[in-house]
């Protein structure tokens, strides 16, 4: 019997169920690929993957840690998703997170004599501004001079990382321990904890609030309309009277600001001081989250929880089964690759040829 032949045929439109199903199919395929790697490590993939989910969701401690990890991921995910909606290719959420963390630390260690809630708001504001300004530089360059934003946002990450290192190795070095880390921020500036006996903090509320606000901005405001229009077709938007330059600049500012808030949360909600590795790549994971969430705020929310589960659970799995926790990065990477490859199915469908 001859093998069946298949071909790609251009789609007229994408059914909604397919749009919804695609991320899940991508996740499924990435689990299959990851299983092969786990097999090579000589372990049982089924128990390994089960232990990821058990570790992240099966115990109270695990569940709390998952929420802690989800907090920065929601913010970087929504920051990237917001930027991508307007075709501002912000690969720099990682750097903007550090810019926000740096500014929040500065405000936190300055020991201002103000009430706690004001102090927290101040941290959020300076963190937002710092992240925003860090993204504004590539945004401005793109809008005014058509400089490629993928390159600039990415390279800006290294600048801020080395800047943070320089500051932590130099002026801000902890004078007591001599570690390259800042002193503790004012207790007044610390985010409150949300749940007893857990590290879940106010940053999660900030994250959920931002998701809600971004949803409103994108769907219901003039700015959101401009961003969606430019995302769909910048040339036509310009022709039709939308101020493309201004909109790109605002998009970059807001996107960077949101990523900056992720940095604020890590400093003020979790560590209370700044270190060089305050983010293990939350900014980059944000890109995967934005894509997996289909650039939809609600989708981004789900995708951030999914990756929080993978990251938290992988650590548990590593203790339980001996498979290295780097498998979390592998799953992330494969999910993105599979997803990008599958995006072609938005444009084409597979048809069997008789």
């Amino acid at each position: 019997m001859p093998l069946p032949k298949f071909r790609l045929e251009k789609r007229e439109s994408v059914p909604n169920w397919f749009r919804m199903a695609l991320p899940f199919i991508a996740i499924g395929i990435s689990f299959i690929f990851s299983s092969i790697i786990i097999l090579f490590a000589g372990k049982n993939p089924v128990t390994s993957i089960y232990s990821i989910f058990y570790g992240a969701l099966g115990t109270r401690l695990g569940l709390m840690e998952t929420l802690v990890k989800a907090t920065p991921l929601i913010l970087t995910g929504i920051a990237v998703s917001f930027a991508f909606t307007g075709k501002f290719w912000n690969i720099g959420a990682e750097g903007q997170l550090y810019a926000g963390a740096l500014a929040a630390t500065w405000a936190g260690i300055s020991n201002f004599n103000i009430p706690s809630f004001l102090y927290i708001i101040l941290l959020l504001v300076v963190g937002f501004i710092a992240g925003g300004l860090w993204a504004l530089i590539p945004g401005y360059l793109k809008a005014k001079l058509k400089v490629d934003d993928v390159v600039t946002t990415l390279l800006m990450n290294y600048i801020i990382l080395y800047l943070v290192t320089a500051i932590l190795e130099g002026p801000w070095r902890d004078p007591v321990t001599m570690w390259p880390q800042s002193i503790m921020i004012s207790p007044n500036a610390e985010f409150p904890k949300l749940l007893q006996k857990s590290r879940v903090h106010f940053g999660l509320i900030v994250g959920l609030l931002v998701v809600f606000l971004v949803y409103i901005i994108i769907k219901h405001t003039k700015l959101g309309f401009n961003i969606r229009a430019i995302g769909a077709n910048p040339n036509a938007s310009n022709f039709l009277g939308i101020n493309v330059t201004k909109t790109i600049i605002i998009t970059s500012l807001i996107s960077g600001g949101i990523a900056g808030l992720a940095g604020v949360g890590e400093v003020a909600g979790l560590h209370y001081h700044l270190t060089e590795n305050i983010s293990p790549g939350y900014g980059y994971t944000g890109i995967v989250i934005a894509m997996l969430g289909g650039l939809n705020p609600i989708g981004v929310l789900f995708a951030s929880f999914f990756f929080a589960i993978i990251i938290t659970g992988a650590q548990y799995m590593s203790r339980a089964t001996g498979v290295t926790s780097f498998i979390a990065d592998v799953i992330q990477g494969i999910t993105l690759l599979v997803l990008l490859a599958m995006l072609i199915l938005y444009e084409y469908r597979i048809r069997r040829v008789e």
Binding site: R7, E12, H220, K222, A232, N233, N238, F239
Partner: protein, 508 residues
């Protein structure tokens, strides 16, 4: 029985439309068959099935009497079927020869261009199609590019040629040449399937005409025994009247005034030289010309997306040379761009948002920050009814609409803002008779209400029908101005190819 192509009961469904609803089609050896029909009648779909680009849902295809399954253009080419698309598939930096031999299975690792060139020259002589085989595609005119596409097919020893709207991009002179070529091909025994919605051409070139309507065959005619009126009726299901009698226009003040405009093209060449042009209220000014003679740049300058090198633009005596598109929209300039897919609409946004994309930022559609969706939706609904835009609902992506409905969206959006001046660039290109008539009617309404219209079009009949005054552009310069009915098509044709008005009599 010389049926070289036989298609039986072909069905093809796309989401929402039955594009081909049981079509029977045949073509004989050595004949030119025209497939006539409105946009969306199913002509291109049927031919894309024959060429293997679409898979049919049901039906049978016989080539030279043998039942076949055509699953890809490669299958089609092996069966001797070739297709020239509306949009050319040539590699611009390559030469004519390189393009013709590109993708041949007989190509080895090392390609001998010289042998191929000799062979191509033989084909050129045989079919009387001449293009410089060493010229780069980017240096060729549209007509020459089409010749390369045809040569590319002939070089693959094709018996059946499908031409999809081949004259859409050609000048009248180039059309004549193409028809000459087609007649030679026919004499050589080739079969030609000619897709078109231009009645004159179909009547002139075909041996047989098959008319499609709504995915079905609505009639088959011998061109010697039919006329334009009958064919149009088969196409659209109603009588079409194409001669519009204009009410005398009431001359008003100048609305749009271009003074000594010089501008560059996107490639950096001088595309417009010292253009002086004005449009008064209550008139349609037609700008005739072969495409690529500066119309695009003129459109961009008036739209506000290109700045002139020299010169000024006035709108009601206000200098608008340095204003943005938005400021021009707000002043009352409506713009129907030539590129309706990539400039006029944002195809990935829903229909209702495209209907307000130029005015969403104004009362009552939005406040300081927020959009008022209930208002926008009810307004869009009204426009959809008023302009008879065929869409399943408000929220489908605009790209799912047909060409005519896309143009109606643009028109609805612009006219509902009551502009005093409309720039209409190729407003009916590629549209069917019904949509064309609708758009002409609307442009005339603007004129009759005292607005000014600048109509940029390659379709001479459209220009002659609608314009109070006609300007002819050639190579970035205005060749002359004519009053309605002053000169013949042939005179304008001469001006379009570079004869100044004052020199017209010298050319006879």
């Amino acid at each position: 029985m010389d049926e070289i192509v036989l298609m039986k009961n072909i069905k093809k469904r796309f989401p929402g439309v039955l594009a081909n609803d049981g079509i029977d089609f045949y073509a004989n050896k050595g004949e030119i068959v025209s497939l006539l029909g409105e946009n969306g009648a199913g002509k291109t779909t049927l031919m894309k099935i024959l060429y293997g680009l679409y898979t049919k849902d049901s039906g049978e295809i016989f080539i030279k009497g043998k039942k076949v399954e055509i699953n890809s253009p490669k299958d089609a080419i092996n069966l001797g079927i070739g297709m020239v698309h509306q949009h050319f598939t040539l590699v611009n930096p390559f030469t004519v020869t390189e393009n013709i031999i590109l993708g041949l299975s007989s190509n080895r690792f090392i390609i001998n261009i010289e042998t191929s060139k000799e062979k191509i020259k033989e084909y050129m002589k045989k079919y009387e199609i001449f293009v410089d085989p060493d010229a780069k595609i980017s240096e060729l005119s549209v007509g020459e590019k089409q010749k390369v596409e045809i040569l590319k097919i002939l070089y693959r020893d094709i018996d059946i040629l499908i031409l999809d709207e081949p004259t859409a991009v050609l000048t009248p002179q180039e059309v004549k040449e193409l028809f000459k070529t087609l007649k030679i091909l026919k004499e050589e025994g080739k079969t030609i399937i000619f897709i078109s919605h231009k009645l004159y051409e179909v009547l002139e070139i075909s041996d047989r005409i098959i008319v499609l309507r709504n995915g079905k065959v609505s009639g088959e005619r011998d061109p010697k025994k039919t006329n334009r009126r009958e064919l149009a009726a088969l196409m659209v299901g109603k009588e079409v009247f194409d001669v519009i009698s204009l009410t005398p226009s009431e001359q008003k003040d100048v609305i749009l005034d271009l003074k000594e405009i010089t501008a560059l093209s996107y490639r950096g060449h001088i595309a417009l030289k010292n253009i002086n042009l004005n449009v008064k209220g209550g008139e349609i000014v037609g700008l005739a010309g072969v495409s690529g003679n500066g119309q695009k740049e003129l459109e961009e300058i008036i739209s506000g997306i290109r700045k002139p090198l020299k010169g000024k633009i006035f709108f009601k005596n206000i200098d608008i040379t340095h204003t943005t598109p938005k400021e021009r929209i707000n002043l009352g300039i409506g713009r129907i761009p030539e590129d309706r897919m990539d400039l006029g609409l944002i195809l990935d946004l829903p229909v209702f948002e495209n209907l307000v994309v130029e005015c969403y930022d104004k009362n009552p559609f939005s406040g300081k920050l927020f959009l008022n969706y209930p208002k926008i939706e009810s307004y869009s609904k009204k426009l959809i009814e008023e302009f008879d835009i065929r869409t399943p609902n408000l929220i489908v992506k605009t790209k799912t609409l047909s060409g005519g409905n896309l143009q109606k969206c643009i028109l609805a959006r612009i006219l509902s803002m009551n502009p005093e001046f409309i720039l209409a660039a190729q407003p009916t290109r590629g549209l069917d008779v019904g949509a064309t008539e609708f758009i002409h009617k609307k442009l005339l309404e603007v004129r009759d209400k005292g607005g000014g219209v600048l109509l940029i079009s390659e379709d001479l009949d459209e220009i002659l029908n609608l314009s109070d005054r006609i300007l002819v552009i050639y190579n970035g310069e205005i060749m002359g101005e004519l009053k309605r009915g002053e000169l013949t098509r042939e005179d304008i044709g001469l001006m379009m190819t570079g004869t100044k008005k004052e020199d017209l009599h010298a050319t006879t």
